[in-house]
Symmetry: C3
Subunit: 313 residues, 3 copies
């Protein structure tokens, strides 16, 4: 199979390297979700690697975030339902967290929003000390992250730091991400490749059954229940339907969102500006919207037609 | 409403600042418990702020600890039962942990015993690197902490460090408190105010519903069950009824407890001395008391009449 | 009672010090398991100490790992069943984690494999910054650790770091072990004894009932369920029966395993070599063995006769 959003180096059968390459900033779009679904199916067929490592061809962006243009949103909705029956993005992450391979994110550049959700669903997260930037800026747009961070982060970094990451929406650079336990380690960038290469090759040489046993037993005491996720994405779709979020998103696109821009480099700082812009309208519009919007279905998201409409295209 | 134990700055409607000011050392007394109950009721009415930040007017004491004079103990017992039906102090902390506002402790100075219990029930804890001191010295007086630390700390810092904090009863200064995850971060004191101010203003500008959603979902996976708390305070009242604890407390008062004293500045060190004093008597008295003392009721504490009697007044 | 694998200093009734001394490298053998069982029975009779501290007479080895010679394996199997009915080693660790005394490991030197399992079952772990080395190298031999780490580590250090420790099988030196939360703290070696001595004396002077209460309540929210452990040791015995593991172990013995050797000093590095040696044979042999080997009984291990046979003796 040929992939367009990433390359797969499977020259070592026990160790596959997935390198994201979706210019300009490695957005997670419908095509990438579909292709990752294909890739995971290959791995699930159990003829795959012992270790699956994810990295990026772009040193500034690991996975910037979800492509939030309305056009792409519709494409995601048109993807065939995944094995779990959940929304395609949730489906993908649940499967990622249970793959019969050790999954490792080697994070250089930004991994925010859905990019952070992706690395949280991996078994292990290594970060470049100077280049990695993680965060969940959704709160700055008016939503809570919809695909897992409220499940993963409290268990990983503790309740207090999970609240700070999720409620503050700030950027977490490598060193602080390590102190908080958001990533396993932050490694100096000039040693990063050597460190990751050694670790993944090492693990890939170990006994497959031993690796599988460890994953099985650690999952038993630390994997969130699948049922935690659908209500999260419902809450996200509700937020996305609120005028406040649409206004903030529109403002962000004006400033350069989804482009190779300063906004994307320092999104954690910029979200404050988007908030200030739309603040006067907030209280009223929100109240109205909350009353009107019906609960989403839990599997596909609610009213999808008006989400982030006309933001970019 | 006028408060006497703290001031409330609500000039920014979305961001209320509560500044503890109860000289000489910001003890948590019956009046403060009552007043905090009133304040929380205001916030619960949902006309309150998005963010509630707690700080102290005294750079040496955030909240020193519970006022353990017998006279004040009786006053706490005479407070009307709170909404949860638990002991007033447990009731207050359970409500604090569930407030419909983001709660942040900005810790400068000592937060020991009940002061530590208070900050543990907040969503986020920021500490001054040089000035914050946290700890649970109860074990040094002969009791386990009765209002939450045995629930919060293992989940926050892991079982091993929770044991060290609770069994050792030592003082944890800012930097070590951060390394253990007892606080979110320890910030250099000269940057502390700027850092906290920026964070709380930022969060207070975000969408109320998004903040509420995050709190709801993080609580679902990280909030202790209410029923964990009452047996803890029962165990505390049992300890308080033992002669050993009364002897240690008496000794501590002689040395300057509850005053602006070296004992209060370095309580974590002093508890060893109190123990040595009463040690010869310990084994016998304890055994007798254990046999005599009936189990407490779980909501109000057991036999209250002889607790810390005549310690100070 | 006279012990041969460790000394017990009970000159202070409330503080017993257990010093491992089983040359050449403090292996955990059947004799040590039996003797520790006797010691724990003494402590369980409740006439024992408030604090039980474990250290080693050998600055290079705290507890190297399980004695994996077939001869000793048989001796373990011939030990009388412990109170829990589980395999003697699991039985011992479950009892350790519930002793009516505060248990503290003062780790200088290597604590790998079963040595790491031992310290994880203690309440508190202090490590020498320069001399402590922890790790679970089992994966490098072809097995997952069988007695607890998959239960303890995710809860202690979070899922991501637990995976790294267990899947990577590397050595964790004091400082990194602290950053990960694998130990409470790493203390500079020249301050290590003073630090530990002060802490354990301090705790041993505190009220016995208060210590017991803290252990009781912290256990309620952080102790793994006993039933988690037997399936783990079953998975371990299954692995041990596979030819791949026997081949790797044989290679390791050739290189100096269980002796005062460079292999034992840097086992985390050496396991890669053992893997490379046996790799060509791996895929085939494994598949055959998996089909043949019956599930173990959960309490005593499965087919014990062919485990690590003729490795050394």
């Amino acid at each position: 199979m040929t992939y367009t959003r990433f390359t797969v180096d499977s020259s070592t059968p026990s160790l596959w390297r997935v390198t994201f390459t979706n210019p300009p900033i490695n957005l997670i779009d419908s095509m990438m979700i579909g292709e990752l679904g294909e890739l995971f199916a290959e791995v699930e067929r159990n003829q795959g690697p012992a270790v699956l490592v994810f990295d990026s061809a772009d040193p500034d962006y690991f996975l910037a975030h979800y492509d939030i243009t309305a056009a792409d949103r519709s494409l995601v909705d048109s993807l065939p339902p995944g094995p779990t029956g959940f929304h395609p993005w949730i489906d993908l992450l649940v499967r990622l967290s249970k793959l019969p391979a050790v999954t490792i994110s080697a994070i250089r550049g930004r991994a925010r929003g859905a990019g952070s959700e992706f690395v949280l669903a991996c078994d292990i997260r290594f970060a470049s000390r100077e280049r990695a930037v993680l965060g969940q800026p959704e709160v700055g747009f008016g939503a809570m992250p919809g695909a897992g961070p409220v499940s993963w982060l409290p268990r990983l970094v503790g309740r207090g730091r999970a609240f700070e990451i999720l409620l503050g929406g700030e950027d977490f650079y490598g060193e602080l991400a390590e102190r908080y336990g958001y990533v396993n380690r932050a490694i100096p960038d000039d040693e990063f490749e050597t460190f990751v290469d050694h670790f993944v090759r090492r693990v890939s040489m170990f006994d497959r059954q031993a690796l599988a046993d460890i994953k099985h037993f650690v999952n038993k005491v630390s994997l969130p229940d699948d049922e935690e996720f659908p209500p999260q994405i419902d809450a996200f779709w509700e937020a996305a339907a609120r005028p406040a979020m649409q206004a903030r998103t529109a403002k962000a696109f004006e400033e350069g969102l989804q482009q190779r821009s300063d906004v994307e480099l320092r999104l954690g700082e910029y979200v404050e500006q988007f908030t200030e812009t739309v603040r006067p309208l907030r209280a009223e519009t929100q109240r109205r919207v909350r009353a009107d919007s019906p609960k989403g279905s839990g599997s596909r998201g609610g009213a999808s037609t008006d989400l982030w409409a006309n933001n970019k295209d």
